[in-house]
Structure formats: C-alpha cells, structure tokens
C-alpha cells in the first residue's frame, strides 16, 4: 500500500515547509527509519508533485532502538524512527523534528543542551565507588538512558535553557546518587581524600554529627534544585521512554537520597 509521507523540511536559516513524498513499503517490517533511508537513496529524489528535492537530513546510527539518534515527532508523538512501523501508520505519516530543541535542518535538532545540563548538574562520581550500588537493578536501569530527549519533549515543565533539567538528567543521576549513597559521598573533602571505612572518616563523621549537617554533594544539591523542585509531577514522561526505563522507581530512589535524607539531616541538625 502506498503511503503519503509528509516531512517538515527546513534548510539552515529558512522557513519550515511540509513536503510530501509517496512511498511504498517493501514489507511489514519497514519503519520510518527505513523509509527515510530508502527515500534518500532515490536519485533524484522527487516529491509527490514531481519536484526534485534535496536529501532529507536526519540522524540515525544503530537502527535498533539502542542509540536514541533518530528521535523525532512521528504523527505528532515523539518516538524513535527505527521503532515506528509503517504498517501501523495507515495511509499517511508525518515526520517533524522535536520541538524543544533548536532545529539544525529538516529532522535534525541540536541536543547539545542535554550534555551541558549534565555538566551543570555535576553528574559524575566525586570519588571511586568502593562498593557496588545497593540496588544493582536500579543502577543498571539508570545506565540505559539513550539521551534521546523524548522525555523532555513531552514534559510540560521543561524548556531549553530553563533551570529544570528533566528526566533526561534525573535518570543518569540515579546511578551516581546510588553509588554516592553507598560510599557516603556526602562527606567532606578531607574524607574523600582519605576514603571511607578508614580511621579518619569516623572522626570526621563525629564532627559532622556535632555540627548537624553533612556537606552535600554538588550533584545532590543540583538534583534537588534542577530536578526535584522543577518537576510538576505531570507524569507525562511515564510511559514515553523508548528504552522502557521505569522513571518512577528511579525518581523515588534519587529523591530519597538527594532530598529526603538531606532534609532529615538538616532537621536533625536544627533540633540538636
């Protein structure tokens, strides 16, 4: 069955316009990604009106839902082009770039802001993980984020350049927060140098108990400000992740480490 593929085109600096192509999938397995590959292989590429068109610019890499490169809006819903079967689209499919990111050309958006946000959040291990994460399943799940941006696309609270960094930052943060929790990464600089489990940290630990509050990790602080406080709990990101990551579980765990535990320790400090 022939399909009308409407693609939102945009050249650098130009105005966006819809261009329609006629495409006949070879089999049931064809995806939006294979359609784009095959359209671009046409020489020349002509649209439905017979007008010659430049190759459609889009990003892809693995073609099997493992890299997140081909995220775009497909019939209005953000998803991975390699994951959407044409057979499920009926007689027409519309492809548009994600809207929360600056458009580079056609279906390519610049997602650099996502990497920059993770740097802003201090998303790394401050010290080596001396023990594995308490919840290995959770650390595994948090490691699987594709950084595709689809969860940000659907989030009513996220906008580029805003303080809220969204689930795309919260998911990888969950792994690091888990590990820091085990290694007691809330320790002081001196403790970090000595490493936990040795004589000195105990002393520092006692000192910390006297002063009330532990010195929080930059990541924990950033998480509270940039994820916890910005999340409106709309749950829009709940079932959209193409990797099927259980966001609720990761958020609950990170909230416990970065927010509730610190809140309790702050309260304890005030009360003593």
């Amino acid at each position: 069955m022939k399909l009308r593929a409407e693609i939102l085109r945009r050249q650098a600096g130009g105005e966006p316009y819809l261009q329609t192509f006629i495409y006949e999938p070879a089999d049931e397995a064809e995806t939006a990604a294979s359609m784009l590959t095959n359209l671009n292989a046409r020489k020349p590429l002509r649209d439905a009106d017979g007008k010659e068109a430049s190759p459609i610019r889009w990003e892809c890499s693995c073609l099997q839902k493992k890299c997140g490169a081909c995220a775009m809006r497909i019939n209005g819903v953000p998803g991975l082009a390699c994951d959407v079967k044409l057979s499920a689209c009926g007689e027409r499919i519309r492809l548009e770039p994600l809207r929360k990111f600056p458009v580079v050309a056609d279906l390519i958006v610049n997602r650099d802001i996502m990497r920059e946000n993770l740097i802003r959040m201090h998303l790394w291990l401050e010290q080596d993980a001396l023990e594995p994460a308490a919840d290995q399943e959770l650390a595994y799940d948090a490691s699987r984020c594709l950084q595709c941006g689809i969860c940000l696309e659907v989030c009513p609270n996220y906008y580029g350049g805003g303080p809220f960094t969204g689930l795309a930052a919260a998911v990888p943060a969950a792994r690091v927060l888990q590990l820091e929790k085990r290694g007691d990464g809330h320790g002081s600089e001196a403790e970090r140098k000595t490493g936990p489990g040795k004589e000195k940290p105990k002393l520092f630990g006692r000192l910390r108990a006297l002063t009330g509050e532990k010195r929080a990790l930059p990541l924990a602080r950033a998480y509270e400000k940039q994820v916890f406080e910005g999340c409106g709990k709309s749950l829009a990101c709940r079932n959209i992740c193409p990797a099927g990551i259980d966001a609720g579980r990761l958020l609950a765990s990170s909230n416990a480490v970065a927010v509730w535990k610190r809140l309790r320790s702050r309260k304890a400090g005030r009360e003593s």
Binding site: A12, D27, A29, E30, T31, A33, S34, T37, N40, A41, K43, E59, C60, S61, C62, L63, Q64, K65, K66, C67, G68, A69, V104, A105, I108, N110, R111, D112, R115, L118, I119, H122, L123, W124, L125, D128, A129, L130, P132, A133, Q136, A139, Y140, S143, R144, C145, L146, Q147, P172, R175, V176, L179, G244
Partner: protein
C-alpha cells in the same frame, strides 16, 4: 603541550580522553554524534578479564594464550600479553566507576564465552557495552568540567594535515556537520573511529555511522593497513530492516544450542563435531561450519539457535534485553521457539597498522579500538573487543602524550592546502550499495581466487565510472585493499578461509599483511609477527596491574605445537 585530538567517542575514544585527563593533558574529543550513539553501545555479551572469580583457577596467561590461539597466532603476542595482564585491573577500575556488573549473592560473576574454557566474561545482562559507555561518559564529564577535555559532537573527521616536508602529522581537519564550517585542530591525533562495516551497507550488525570513509581517507593519505582481509562473521545474526540483528554470543554462553534439521531431525552439529567447546567454539569456526551445513542438501538450508532450554531466571536476570529485541524485531519468543540465524559481518580484526604502543605508520597519528589492527589477529574472541578498545585507548593516549613531550609543538601550520567540497565528500547510497554487493560477493566466509578477482574487477569497473566523487573513489580503494590482501594471503587462517588454499601455512603466512598506497600504487607485503619477548621482560604497572612476567617463549611454542597436533 598542545591538545591531543581524539577522533571518535566510543569506548576507545572515551578511554583515551580519560587517560589523558589523568595525565593532565588536554584533549579534544571529536565525534559525528554523541557517545550514546557510538557502536560501542551495541556490544552485548561482556568484557573478558581473568579475575578468577568462578573458582576455575583462571589466569591472565591463559587469557593471553586463548586470545593468541583464537587469533591463530597472528596477533602481536607482546601487545596481547599487555592487554590480558591489564584486564583484571581495568575491570576493577570499571567497578570503581560504578559499572553495574552482574552479581550473585553480592559477588560479581562471569560467564562463558566462545573460544575460552573458563568463565572470564564480566557482564551486565545483555547490554554490557551500553552500561560501560555510560560510566565512561560520566567520567569524561568530570574532565570536561575541569577543562581538560573538550567535546565536539556533530563534527566529522575530514582529513589529517600532514607536513609536506617529512610526512609528520600536524593536526586534523574536522567539519561541523550542523554549521558546515571546517576547523583545523593542531596536535597529535588518536583515531578511534571504529570498523568499516559501512563498506557493506545493510549487511552488518554495526551502525550506519561507521561508514569506513574516515579509514578510506587516512589510507589514501598514506597510512598503512594491516590484516584488512580478516572480517569476522558472527555466527548468530538475523536480517532485519536495514541491517543485521546480533543474537549475542551470551545466548550460547548461557546454554543456547545451534542445530539444523537434517532429514527432518534436529542435528546439534557443533556439539557433535566439537565435543569440547561445542557451541562455544571461536566464531570463525562456527560460521564456517554453519556455511557448510546450510549447503548440505539434507539440512534444508536453515540453522536455528535453540534457547528454549534456558531457565526463566536466566532470561529475566541475564538476557532480558536480548529476549525483548528478538521479540520486537523477529516476532519470536526465543524462550519458546528456536530462532533462525545465519552468519553476518560483525567485526574487523584488521585496520590501521598500529604497533604495541598504538602508533600508526604516520608519525603523530595513533589508532585504537576497532579501527586498529591490534590484539585479535585472524579472529577475535567474544568479549575481547571492549577490552581491546578500553586498553588500547589508554595505551594510545600514553604514547601520544609521551611522543608529544619529545616532539614538542608542531605549531599551527595547516600543512597542505585544503578546500572542502561537500559534493566531492559524499558517497551516494546507491553507489555504496553497489560497491557493498561486489565486496560481499568476494569476501564471504569461504573465498577463492576467482571470486576475489571477480570482485576486484567489479571495483575497478566502479572506479572507472565517470563522475564518481572523491569519497566514492576512496571507498573503492579501501575495498580494493581488502580484496588484494585476501588474494595475497594464499592460505586459510581464522576468518580468512580460501577454498583454493584450505590449509594453514605458517612458514609462508604467519605474518602480518600490510597494504599501502604510495603515489597511486597499491602494494601488499607481509611482515613477521613480532617475536614474544623473553620471560623476564616485565610489564610496568601503568595500567593498574602489578608487575608480572609474560609467558616464556617456550610455553608459547608448546601452545602452538599443541594446536598443530589438535588442528
């Protein structure tokens, strides 16, 4: 000291950046897309290290000899000894970076992988590459924040800038694919751009990003290739739209069995023919057996991977992603139904010539990961690719830093005149497909002179076509280099099987194939594999391993003699 330029941000590139940052050396990490899109994230089964966690008295020396034997004694034995000795330390380092390796009752566990009798593959379910890359990205981010590493995503490699006077590398030209501008980055260059599966569009398990064009460019600029004829066909893949889907070796490591229907009855041919390792023989052996069995008229052409015997626990805890993937793309539940599989192009053992320190033939240029020829010889063992990339990236970084401190700053000279033309730098999809079909015809699992010469003629025909772009011509030349290497190697070894020369010929060909292009002339030559250093030579502790001697020459000889006898 000037910045070191790293091209490619998969495991090898990330590892190089981390090593440089630890040495306080600044680097530019340049890649076409972010690390999350690198082919490394597709690695599934695990990473080998003789940590001896499974009570089998494993040792790095055994890992070393398994790797050399799996590679049919073509790999540099000193480099392999260095890598395997460092492996346990590297995996411990990954643990320190928080990689959630599989554990049971609180202890890390390892699984069986092909070509090795002992359980030495550390893993995280069936997405080991993904979780490993994720932890390395986090570590590089720390270096980014400290100003030591600067990342340039959406930048393509264009070409090396070489000194006209002495051929030395001055830096690298890259191009911002978003804005279109070209940029010159002075300094040493570490190439980590992966294999060349793009030479075979749609026929490999790799990503569409690994076009092979960066390798073709570097080759056309004079870099020497080593062992390019050794192409690994992974035994268990299946065609899906646009590529081949990998069914991880972990499936067999956990108990999956290959069978064919011979006269209507299940024939577990690997178990019958190779009782000791069975379904876990090295990949070259299994792929070749599958090729032969599928041509047996009694067997009906199809081969299946039977994973129906795996326990629900194994599926849930160890292979959940694999099952989901097969369900999604092949519409089969592997827990209930055997999966039809066939060999597919998966890995390139050869690539840029790189010595033990990962130096290529061009001064100031280094290569690590799949684009380099190191570690795997004629056939790579499963679980050694991520190890080779991780270790090799670190070694290349150390060599680059050490050489630069001696060489000093090359300055900001841009070398030869250079003008980028997008039109000339594009390979049209149709051209890529035609070239791929010709090459695949000649470079199958079983090869012969007639097929290889036919393919060579086909490639030359394409080269003569009017109006082909420079990038298309370079890709053809890379294809020609692989074909000529395969023609020159008149023996069968590892992944290179010649039906017209079915025997292994150590006297003639236990040598590294070298292919070079100088002034338009392509030359193939052979160089002796480096001799194993005497016992007593020590590896230093720079990679986090304690000093230890390497296998003695005599034990190396015994190993080879034993292999001869059994082979």
């Amino acid at each position: 000291m000037e910045k070191v330029n790293i091209i490619g941000a998969g495991i090898a590139g990330l590892s190089a950046a981390i090593r440089l940052a630890r040495m306080n050396v600044q680097s530019l990490l340049i890649s076409s897309q972010a690390s999350e899109r690198a082919q490394s994230v597709l690695a599934e089964g695990g990473i080998n290290a003789a940590m001896d966690l499974m009570g089998e008295s494993d040792s790095w020396q055994e890992h070393c000899s398994d790797t050399l034997k799996g590679g049919v004694f073509l790999a540099d034995p000193n480099a392999v000894a260095g890598m395997t000795a460092a492996a346990p330390g590297l995996v411990r380092r990954l643990q320190e970076l928080g990689v959630p390796f599989q554990r049971e009752n609180g202890q890390m566990i390892q699984r069986n992988f092909g070509g090795q009798k002992k359980k030495r593959t550390a893993y995280a379910k069936s997405s080991t590459g993904k979780v490993l890359v994720n932890a390395l990205i986090d570590e590089v981010r720390k270096a980014e924040a400290a100003g030591l590493t600067k990342r340039l995503c959406h930048h393509d490699f264009v070409r090396l800038a070489l000194s006209e006077a002495d051929g030395q590398c001055l830096g690298v030209w890259i191009r911002d694919t978003y804005g279109g501008a070209c940029l010159f980055c002075p300094g040493p260059v570490i190439l980590c751009f992966g294999g060349f599966c793009g030479l075979f569009p749609g026929l490999s398990t790799g990503t569409s990003q690994n076009t092979g064009d960066a390798l073709a460019t570097v080759f056309s600029q004079g870099a020497v290739l080593a062992n390019p004829e050794f192409i690994q066909y992974h035994p268990t893949t299946a065609a899906i739209t646009g590529k081949r889907l990998l069914v991880s070796e972990a499936a067999r490591g956990e108990g999956g069995r290959l069978f064919a229907l011979r006269n209507g009855r299940k024939w577990y041919f690997m178990e019958e023919k190779y009782p000791e390792l069975g379904n876990l023989m090295p990949r070259d052996v299994i792929s070749r057996e599958m090729f032969l069995v599928s041509r047996d008229p009694a067997c009906g052409g199809e081969i299946f991977l039977d994973m129906t015997g795996l326990s629900p626990e194994t599926w849930k805890k160890k292979l959940p992603d694999l099952r989901a993937q097969i369900l999604r793309y092949l519409k089969l539940d592997p827990a209930c139904t055997p999966v039809p599989v066939s060999p597919g192009i998966h890995y390139f053992m050869g690539g840029l010539y790189a010595d033990e320190g990962h130096r290529t033939s061009i001064p100031g240029v280094y290569a690590a990961g799949e684009c380099a020829c190191q570690y795997h010889g004629a056939n790579r063992l499963g679980g050694n690719s991520m190890l080779g990339a991780l270790y090799g990236g670190g070694v290349a970084a150390e060599s680059a830093a050490a050489d630069a401190s001696v060489r000093g700053c090359a300055g900001t000279s841009v070398g030869e005149d250079f003008c980028f033309s997008e039109e000339n730098e594009t390979v049209s999809p149709a051209f890529g497909q035609r070239l791929g079909a010709i090459l695949a015809q000649g470079l199958g699992i079983v090869r012969d002179a007639q097929g290889l010469e036919g393919a060579l003629e086909g490639v030359r025909g394409l080269l003569r076509q009017p109006g082909i772009t420079q990038a298309e011509a370079r890709r053809c030349l890379l294809g020609e280099a692989v074909l000529r290497a395969a023609l020159a190697r008149k023996e069968s070894r590892g992944a290179h099987y010649r039906s017209d020369y079915p025997e292994r010929d150590d006297a003639g060909f236990r040598k590294t194939t070298l292919v070079s292009l100088r002034s338009g002339r392509m030359e193939v030559s052979f160089r002796e594999v480096p001799a194993r250093r005497e016992a007593g030579d020590k590896y230093d502790a720079r990679h986090g391993v304690s000093k230890s001697g390497i296998c003695s020459k005599s034990s190396c000889r015994e190993e080879e003699a034993g292999d001869e006898a059994s082979g």
